[in-house]
């Protein structure tokens, strides 16, 4: 029984590096914290995957694309599936138009719209005798 943590000292039961290396394939291959892929977390300006300083070309907006009011503009690229439609679509548009991501109302309205849509679709499937 050690006195840790009531007195200083080292943890018990940590095998030596040699023991660990013998038991575990690759043990310590990334031992140096400064030599890991996401170190440092941010590398300002050091990574260039595209044209520096340019906003990508805009994807055509085929219908008024809903967006967070925390965005200054529509993002250049976006998912173009399933535009908001019907009652659930109206609730979704309201959630995006009126409430920021910081407001519980935003998320609760979106969850409510999801339920309205899935229940409505299930009912429609039932009426058309298709498996929901």
């Amino acid at each position: 029984m050690t006195n840790i943590p009531y007195a200083g000292g080292h943890r018990a039961g940590i095998p030596s590096a040699d023991d660990l290396r013998a038991r575990i394939p690759g043990w310590g291959a990334d031992l140096d914290p400064a030599d890991r892929p996401s170190h440092p977390r941010e590398v300002p300006g050091a990574i260039r995957s595209g044209s520096a300083g340019e906003v990508p070309e805009n994807q055509p907006e085929r219908w008024p694309r809903e967006r967070s009011i925390e965005h200054a503009r529509l993002t250049p690229v976006f998912g173009s599936t399933l535009p908001p439609r019907g009652v659930s679509g109206a609730i979704r548009r309201l959630a995006y138009r009126r409430y920021s991501e910081a407001r519980a109302a935003h998320w609760l309205l979106l969850l409510a719209a999801d339920r309205v849509e899935s229940k409505g679709q299930a009912l429609r499937s039932l009426l058309s005798r298709r498996t929901p």
């Binding site: 043990w27 890991r36 690229v77 976006f78 998320w107």
Partner: protein, 379 residues
Amino acid sequence: MVYRGPYRIRVEEKERPRIEHPNDAIVRVTLAAICGSDLHLYHGMMPDTRVGTTFGHEFIGVVDEVGPSVQNLSPGDRVMVPFNVFCGTCYFCERGLYSNCHNVNPNATAVGGIYGYSHTSGGYDGGQAELVRVPFADVGPTKIPDWMGSEDALMCTDALPTGYFGAQLGEISEGDVVVVLGAGPVGLYAAKSAWLMGAGRVIVVDHLDDRLELAARFAHAETCNFAQVDDVVVHLKRTTDHLGADVVIDAVGAEADGSLLQHVTGTKLKLQGGSPIALNWAIDSVRKGGTVSVMGAYGPMFSAVKFGDAMNKGLTIRANQCPVKRQWPRLFEHIRAGYLKPSEIITHRIPLDDITEGYHLFSRKLDGCVKPIVVPTAA
């Protein structure tokens, strides 16, 4: 597959995805995986998951068509696609924060773009399908190295880099005691990665014996079944010199079991952004001054997190979605060296036509299902 509502998906014929932007590609999927985070969608927990959405953010395939500005890929190339949709040039991408790209998700500023992960993550269809639109084809996808097997490549699109990234977030130093909460695919990879970063002990916590057995065998870890101890935090303290672990990695996220109250309010009633029980166990079982790493996924709503303890204990909490492509060069080295064999944890291979059954199996954790992958009909 398409989503119809909570716990309801089906396979149906959809319109072929189109090139919407000059740097798009259309990829014909050869393998996809179902991820633990897909279950949050399947259970109806993620706001703005629309009926008709196709899930799947882990997939590999063959380039079928490219937009006019695509230079790095050609039809016929065998590619692996990171789960992050990212542009490579915005303020965040320029700093290497690919999972936080600002140019691809109009629906939310807090989360980047993710394939098949609801409109909250940008409204992109996913890869549990035969064809998928891949934006910024010059930036995200990479040709699969000739020496790499398809199933290993598939695991490199999310689960393996996320687990490895979770270990990195822990800032593990030589000899550290590392606790990993969750023995799903990401937790198993995190445990294995902790050794690469020099951990002295790795303890994996779960309540499913078959997964804990895998943690011992695949990840060489000590294990703790939280359902078999009276109080998991006390148990972890006792086994770590009463200090607590140096690093605790939350590889569970929003649908943690372990607290009925948190489960009901967070998972069933959706009054929180998921159950924060794993996060609270992490805060309570890490040592003072220690680090909590979070890459378990939580929803955008508030959660009842024990922040007072985190503050009083002087903890560092580090969290993010994994910027997959930053991890690849090193992970490829580790796979080639034999230190990592990611495909070893795949337990089920399911035809796309049977994906409904696959989700049921994975969601209920039946038949020892740890990692199911999906084989499209034409693959």
